[in-house]
Structure formats: C-alpha cells, structure tokens
C-alpha cells in the first residue's frame, strides 16, 4: 500500500497493531494524555512514523477507545503506520524505552491496515474489592444478574447520560482472593454511550450497600470481539 509522504512521493507503509497497558500512576492519564505520550514516544524512539498530509500533518497513529481516566488497563490498542519496514519486536523495545513507565507496550504485531472498531466489541474488566469477602459479594451479583434492567446515570462531556448497565453486562463473576478480599470480573459489551466498570459498580451499589465508598482499582484485562466463552482477544 502506498501513501503520499512529504513531497508527494509514494512510500511503502507498514501497519503495526500495538497492545499496551496503562498501569499504576499512569492509569490517571486521559485518552488525550496517552495520545500525546505516544506521539512523543514515537519521535523519541525515532520510528519512521508516517504523517498525514495536509495543512497540519499528524503522525499516523489511530487509537481504539481508551480505558477511562483512573482505570488501569492491560489491553489498550492502537495502530501505527510506518514509512519503512521495522521489526515488530524492535518497535516494542524502542517504544518502551521512550514512553513513561506505566504506559507499557505489551505486544506489537503486523496488521493489515487500520484498526476497525468492529474488531473491538467487548472488554473484560476487573474491579478489586480489597477487604470485602467473596461471600458478601456473591448474593449482590446474583441479585444484579436477575434484574431486567439496571439504569445508571453518568455525567459525560455531552451532559448527563442514562444507560442500562445490566443490558451491557455479558457475564459477571466474583473472584475469591481470601488473603485480600475479592474481585469482580465482568465481560461488558461496547455500547454507545459506553457502559464502564464504574457504571456497573454503581448499579451494584443500587442493589446493596456492601461496597465501600471511593473508587476501587479497576483494570481492563482484555479487549476484542465477543465469543461464546467471553472476550476473544485481538
């Protein structure tokens, strides 16, 4: 495939799919913060990144919908377009050396082209519930799963939005971690507006007051298409 690069000469391009994590302190980075970090990261890593043509050229990086600010992730995706072929592992190493700790590239693979949203239709999330025994959570989850709908509201950039947290939840399990309490693990469909793990938690809070105040650690574990046994990783 060829695109026009500075001066109008066609250049061969290479598409790379990047899976990265947002960990620890960096989970507080927003989508835009992560995007800026990658734009600088590819420059620091000296990757042959392609630029869009036009009035204000931008590096060709396309981002799949990111985990919310404050939510960690082990499964964020973006795609890069390079103007000359570079070994995928080399790209991973160079990016990791160039990015802030906590925005960590997990895997780089060759890909056919841009990342279509249709390949990312569901996510698996985990919510840590330290100090809360699984036995206390299981009945709450059962009650939630028995609901026909679980309306929740969240203030978004487009104003207050209402969504059905129950409808988006494909599965919801309680993980017992006797030493540290428990955790919720759930598969949630990508919807518009999106139902986030904190929305599900709020819906659970409507069912029971067993949960502590404050925002627990939430992590996206996987992202991909929805298969019969859960999320099929990209």
């Amino acid at each position: 495939m060829g695109v026009l690069q500075n001066g109008g000469e066609p250049v061969t391009t290479q598409h790379l799919l990047v899976r990265y994590a947002k960990r620890g302190k960096m989970r507080f980075a927003s989508h835009l913060d992560v995007a800026r970090a990658f734009e600088r990261g590819v420059r620091r890593a000296d990757l042959p990144i392609a630029y869009s043509t036009g009035f204000t050229p931008h590096p060709k990086i396309s981002y799949a919908g990111g985990a919310p600010t404050g939510v960690a992730s082990e499964a964020e995706y973006l795609s890069l377009t390079l103007t000359s072929r570079t070994e995928a592992d080399d790209v991973r190493e160079r990016l990791n050396a160039a990015l802030p700790d906590g925005i960590d590239v997990i895997a780089v693979t060759e890909d056919s082209g841009k990342l279509p949203a249709s390949r990312l239709t569901a996510s698996e999330w985990q919510i840590a519930l330290p100090g809360l025994p699984a036995d206390n959570v299981v009945p709450v989850v059962r009650k939630f799963l028995a609901l026909t709908e679980a309306p929740v509201e969240r203030l978004t950039s487009k104003g207050m939005r209402r969504m059905d947290a129950r409808a988006a939840v494909v599965s919801l399990d309680v993980i017992d971690d006797a030493s540290r309490g428990s955790a919720l693990r759930m598969v949630v469909r990508h919807t518009v507006p999106s139902v986030r793990p904190d929305d599900v938690l709020n819906a659970l809070r409507d069912v029971s007051d067993v949960f502590l105040a404050g925002q627990p650690l939430m992590t996206r574990l996987a992202q991909g298409s929805l298969g019969e046994s859960g999320v099929v990783k990209l």
């Binding site: 507080f28 913060d33 800026r36 700790d101 925002q215």
Partner: protein
C-alpha cells in the same frame, strides 16, 4: 532515614479531582533519587498549577543543574487546585513533590520561583499544606529554608514575613553556591542553628535574608531606613549574573509532561537580557546585559532537546529573539536541518519589524502560517516615545503588510493601557491603527478574510524600571478607556468584524501593582487575603478584587497607608523605595533621569540600544562586573543543505 512517599494517602483522592495525572509524576526525564544517597535536598516550587508551572524554564534549568550533582536531590512541587487542596486538608495529606511524592517539609530548601506577584498567595497555601509555619520567625531547624527567586522576587518585601531568603538574578550558579553552604553547615553539625545557616548565606553577599534587615517608617508612612541588624550582613544584596551561556546549556533534557500544559515544546533561550530600553519592561531592566548563546550551542541544544523529549515544537526564547546577532543564520540553518521532519520552529516574542516576519517565514517554511504577534504596546506615536518603544506607524504597517502578503492570516497586536501621561486619545488611537492594519492586509492580499486581534492589558509600574516612581492609572480610568476603545473599534462596520478585541478588567492590575511595589507592611494584606480564601489570583475565575480591598482595610489598619498609597501615588526622587537595598546594578540616577526624560513636557527622549550604540551608562556592567556577550561567531550549523541568501525585503 529515608522519607516515605505520601502517594498511598494521595492515591484514593485522585479519582475525585480534575485532571489527576498532573499530580502523579513519572514523566519522561523526571528524576527520582534515593533520599539517603544525597546530602542536600531541594524542593522546587512553582506557585501555580502544574499546567502553567511545568513548562517554566527557570525550574527546568535548576532541576537539571541540581540533579546533575551526585549528592544533591531536586524534586518539583506545584500548587494543587482547590478541589485537591480541600481533600488533602480533610485527610491530612501534606504538600508533596510530584517526583517521589515526598512531603515538602522534609527537604532542606523549598525554592520558589515567582514569575508574577499574583502567585504570592499560592506560596502560603503550599506552606500551610506542607505544615511549614507561614511566618519565617516561627520556623525551627527542622523546617526547610524557604528561598524565593524569579523576576517577581526583585522586590520580595511584601513576602518578607514568609521568606527565609531570596536570590535575585540568574539561578544556575547561585543554587550550587547555596548548596555548598548548606552542605558545610550540615556537615559541621549545624553551627548556630537556623540563623547560623542564614547568616552564612547572607555573608556571601548574594543571598538576601529579610529578617536581618530592619525597616523604619516616617510619620507620613514612607520608609525611613532599611539597615542590617547584625554584623556580617551586607547593606545591599547583589543580583547574580551568569556569564557564558554556552557553558550552561540547560535544560538539556527537560521533563516531558503527560498532562496537557500551556507550552508543549522544547524551548532554548537564545540569549538572556535585553537592552532595548523599553521603560515599562522589568524583564529588560533586571536581566542586563545581553548574553548570547552561540549558534553552535543553540543548534546542539535543539538537536539534543528534540531527541530527549520527542517534542515536535521548538521555541527560540529570549526577550526579543530577532535581536540575536546571528538570528538569520540560526533561522536558515535550523529550518534546513529540520526540513521534512515535521518539527515546528517558532520565535515566541517578536518586535514590530519586517525582518521578524522574514524570520517567521523562514522558520515556518514547512508548516502552517496561522498567526503572528507583535507588540507596539502604545497606541499613539507619542505614547510609544514615552515608553521608549521606538516603532513608527509606518514600521507597523510595513510589518503587517509583509506578514499578510507572506500568507499569515492573522496578526495579533499587544498594547498596554494606563501608561504614564496617557490620555483617552492615546488609547482610542489603537482603533485607527487596527483599521489601517486591516486595510493594508486587504490591499496586500486582495482578500477580506484576514484578521487582526487587539489584545490590551493594564500597565503595572514595576520595581527596578524607570517607571518605578510612576502613579499607577486607577482601574476605573483604564476600564473607561477600554470601553471607549471598544466602542471606537465597533463604530466602523467595514472593519469591525475583521478586528478582534481582547482585554481584561483593570482591578487585577491594581492588586498586582500593590504586590509589585509594596513594602513589608503589605505582608499582612497578603495574609488577610489568603485567610479569606485568596488562591490562584492570576486566574480570573478565582480572583476577587473585593477580597483584596477588604484585606487592605484589615492588613493596613494600623498604618498611615492604604491601597491607593501603594498604587496610584507617584513617588519622588528622595523617597526610599522598598527594594532600594536590592542591587540590580541599575544606577538609580540613570533610572530617574530616564523617567524624567519619558515624561518631559517637551516630548520624551529616546534611548538607543547599547549593543549598537555607545554605552548610555545604565550602570549595570560596571556595578556587576559584567559585559555584553554577543556574536557573531561566523559559524554555521551542520546539517543545513544549502546556503541561500535570505531575502530581507519580504517575499
């Protein structure tokens, strides 16, 4: 003993606040050192939000200079927004550094850089959150030395109660000298306690310790005398001047923010100082003489800075960048080096001069041409003479014509309102000027969609300038003139929609004026305002004029002086000014003569730039033992592809 991170206490608060990423650190090029591996530890504080403070060049330089020293640790701390401040108070989380989230109170020095007086109340918030007593007199040997620097510290008197020490001038060598004094004091078992350290610092002649000076007042409220109150303390404290900027190429690898900030670029200072002699300009007066960085160092810094940061923008900073002796070569060579690399180059500060447009054209060769900014500062020719901004209307029209013809769509013009001797006509003249600018642009381009934005701010007389004696224009007069200007701009419909008008109310300027030229008695006003909730006074959504007026009433209740006395009152030659014992090198008589010349009834006298004309004896070089350091060096940058002759008569 290692110092524990407060992050575990901070972390649960972060989901509850706006833009939490600003508080987490971990940025590329940030430095975390083992506490116990170092012996002198600095917390560098910028008294505004991270988004403003992080790009600050002064903090970036000192952070690197200090951290390059093996036994020195420097971390950064910024003002937290009121949402987090409240949560920190509720949960007992102290002011922390973003690098390792160490409590600020554990450091040896809390170094605060003041770019503007409106950051003063934010110092009190940080001290209070840190658990450091607000008043220097209440601090003990366990507390950090609270040390101020930056341009606004050239008159630190309003903060005298809250500061332990002050450095005026360039910080690079000063922080290292202070580090040595602290190390010796600590290694020697802290002889003399806290005062022992402060005395050693004061004895260097380059560190001002306010509490070692007594101030007396005359019955009418004016200052009587400022005198040292113990032996070994100099009568006046000198500013620091860094010579040979090529030997100090900082910042080399500045921190790359994850949060969005006001300047997202690698900035290199191409020279320091300015001798254009604009009478209102404190920066130009206190940073003399001009010291250039050579084209070679600039080129190396840009190369290294881009590589270490990944920024795609480069700013060539200085007080008047087109005045560098080799700016032409710098512009051509950098544009050559980075052609096709999607690196944007810019000169953030531009004088009204067609040559500047040519430079901007050259630097933006590969990028977009959106807007150019020029600062005529005064609306009428007479006004510009008063402020010694030697720009004629013809210069301005020629400059904007070149800009519009070169493809720039928008020109922004900066002005000031409330200048000495100003009349209504001097301000409404700006409307005329704007119309002429648009007309010239339409003629040059044959299009109607070019724009001009008039941006105007209230003038605040500053210490160490010829206008330090001036009466500040009352805010109601400024506001009235701005209303008249707005009406004049809107009056002509043929141009009205092509001209944008941006202005601020006059009242924040009056408070800035109070803090700029205040003396020690203003400390109580600051404390009263802060106790009443003053925070982030540089932000219009937080600033309250009524609060400051009330704070003046309580804080100055036991004095003969008031807000007007500090601001709108003109001073005379004989009055002792609060900063007279802080030596910026400027000859007081020269400043006075320049002030008199500005307001002369026979028309203002003009002062040329001493880089190109004989020395006019402002006093700085002999007083400070410094010299003008300029090129040309005759060198060129590697990597340029060709040596075109730069057209100087527009394109």
């Amino acid at each position: 003993m290692p110092v524990e991170s407060v992050f575990p206490q901070l972390e649960p608060l972060l989901p509850l606040v706006r833009k939490p990423v600003q508080y987490v650190g971990g940025e590329v090029n940030s430095t975390v050192k083992a506490w116990d591996a170092t012996d002198v530890r600095w917390a560098l504080f910028y008294p505004d939000a991270y988004e403003v403070g992080q790009p600050n060049q002064g903090i970036a330089i000192l952070y690197e200079v200090l951290n390059e020293q093996p036994c020195v640790l420097a971390e950064r701390t910024y003002s937290v927004w009121p949402d987090l401040e409240q949560l920190m108070r509720d949960r007992g989380v102290p002011q922390f550094t973003v690098d390792a989230h160490r409590p600020v109170s554990a450091f040896d020095v809390l170094g605060v850089s003041f770019s503007t007086e409106l950051g003063y109340t934010n110092l009190l918030t940080a001290l209070d959150l840190a658990g450091i007593p607000l008043l220097a007199a209440d601090r003990t040997i366990t507390h950090p030395v609270v040390l101020a620097g930056g341009h606004a510290a050239f008159n630190p008197e309003p903060l005298a109660d809250f500061l332990d020490a002050v450095v005026i001038g360039d910080g690079e060598e000063a922080v290292l000298a202070i580090t040595r004094v602290i190390r010796e004091w600590k290694q020697g078992g802290c002889p003399g306690g806290r005062d022992g350290l402060l005395l050693s610092l004061a004895a260097t002649g380059g560190v001002y310790v306010p509490k070692f000076y007594d101030v007396t007042y005359r019955p009418d409220g004016r200052i009587g005398r400022v005198t040292p109150n113990r032996a070994g303390v100099p009568a006046s404290v000198r500013k620091h001047t860094l010579l040979d900027l090529d030997a100090w190429p900082y910042p080399k690898a500045p921190v790359v923010p994850v949060a969005e900030t006001v300047h997202e670029r690698y900035s290199v200072e191409i020279f320091r100082g300015c001798t254009r002699g604009c009478r209102f300009c404190q920066a130009g007066m206190i940073t003399r003489p001009v010291r250039e960085r050579s084209i070679t160092t600039v080129g190396n810094m840009v190369k290294g800075g881009l590589k270490s940061t990944g920024f795609s923008e480069v700013g060539l900073l200085s007080l008047s960048s087109a005045d560098h002796s080799e700016i032409n070569e710098i512009a051509i060579d950098l544009a050559d080096c980075y052609e096709g690399s999607n690196v944007g180059l810019s000169l953030p500060s531009t004088r009204v001069d067609a040559f500047n447009v040519t430079l901007a054209d050259e630097l933006s060769r590969n990028g977009k041409r959106s807007g150019l900014t020029f600062a005529p500062e005064g609306g009428s020719e007479r006004m510009r003479k008063v402020i010694n901004k030697m720009v004629t209307e013809e210069d301005l029209i020629r400059t904007v014509t070149t800009a519009y013809a070169g493809g720039w769509r928008q020109v922004k013009l900066y002005f000031m309102c409330g200048l000495p001797t100003e009349e209504d006509e001097d301000v409404t003249a700006i409307a005329d000027l704007a119309r002429k600018v648009i007309a010239a642009g339409r003629t040059a381009t044959g299009r109607k969609d070019i724009r001009c934005t008039v941006s105007i701010g209230g003038f605040v007389p500053k210490p160490h300038t010829p206008f330090q004696w001036a009466g500040q224009c009352p805010p109601e007069v400024v506001d009235d003139r701005l209303r008249k200007l707005g009406a004049a701009l809107r009056a002509d419909k043929t141009y009205g929609r092509s001209v944008g008008f941006r202005y601020h109310e006059g009242t924040p300027s009056l408070v800035e004026g109070l803090l700029s030229r205040g003396d020690r008695r203003v400390g109580r006003v600051i404390l009263a305002a802060w106790r009443d909730g003053a925070r982030f006074d540089g932000w219009s959504e937080y600033f309250s004029f009524d609060r400051w007026v009330a704070a003046c009433a309580t804080g100055l209740a036991e004095t003969q002086v008031d807000l007007a006395w500090y601001t709108t009152r003109e001073r005379d030659y004989g009055e002792v000014l609060p900063w007279d014992h802080l030596d910026s090198g400027l000859d007081r008589d020269w400043l006075w003569e320049d002030w008199q010349s500005a307001v002369s009834p026979h028309g203002a006298g003009e002062v040329e730039d001493c880089r190109w004309t004989p020395c006019y004896e402002c006093g700085v070089c002999p007083a400070m033992g410094t010299e003008i350091q300029t090129g040309p060096t005759g060198e060129r940058l590697d990597g340029r592809r060709l040596l075109p002759v730069l057209a100087t008569n527009g394109r």
